[in-house]
Symmetry: C2
């Protein structure tokens, strides 16, 4: 199975990387770029008996390995057979 | 408008962060995790006259600011009014 998990900084957390990109866009002449938030995207290939087991595994991975739950939110975006 | 741009390492590029996560998953008892690739995800809020202008702006941003075209591929995943 192939899955995609995304991890983004929580709304209340400052994102200096995103801010730097937004400023750089302004310097390139793109003042229309109002906000940039940078997060992570994981493409995961896994073996699981069924979709439910894959979801449980991905939730555990996302919580323990892929994100820092104090400052980031994760989402299992897709699971494909 | 709100847009999502994703940036992933090219297939032929090694991804040591992804590899480290895959090994850590194995150490947690999840041998079923066969491959992990780590990339970036950007949520961008922008002002553009229409969808076509937004696409052109996002392509330029992705190429110049969000990715390294030598080792990464980018994709404009979605644009919402």
């Amino acid at each position: 199975m192939k899955a995609v998990v995304t991890v983004m900084p929580k709304q209340e957390v400052l994102d200096p990387q995103g801010k730097a990109i937004q400023r750089a866009a302004g310097a390139l002449g793109h003042a229309g770029v109002q906000d940039v938030r940078q997060g992570k995207r994981f493409e995961i290939t896994l073996d699981a008996a069924d979709r439910e087991k894959a979801e449980a595994l991905l939730d555990e991975l996302a919580e323990k390995l892929l994100s820092n739950p104090v400052i980031e939110d994760f989402q299992v975006e897709s699971i494909e057979a």
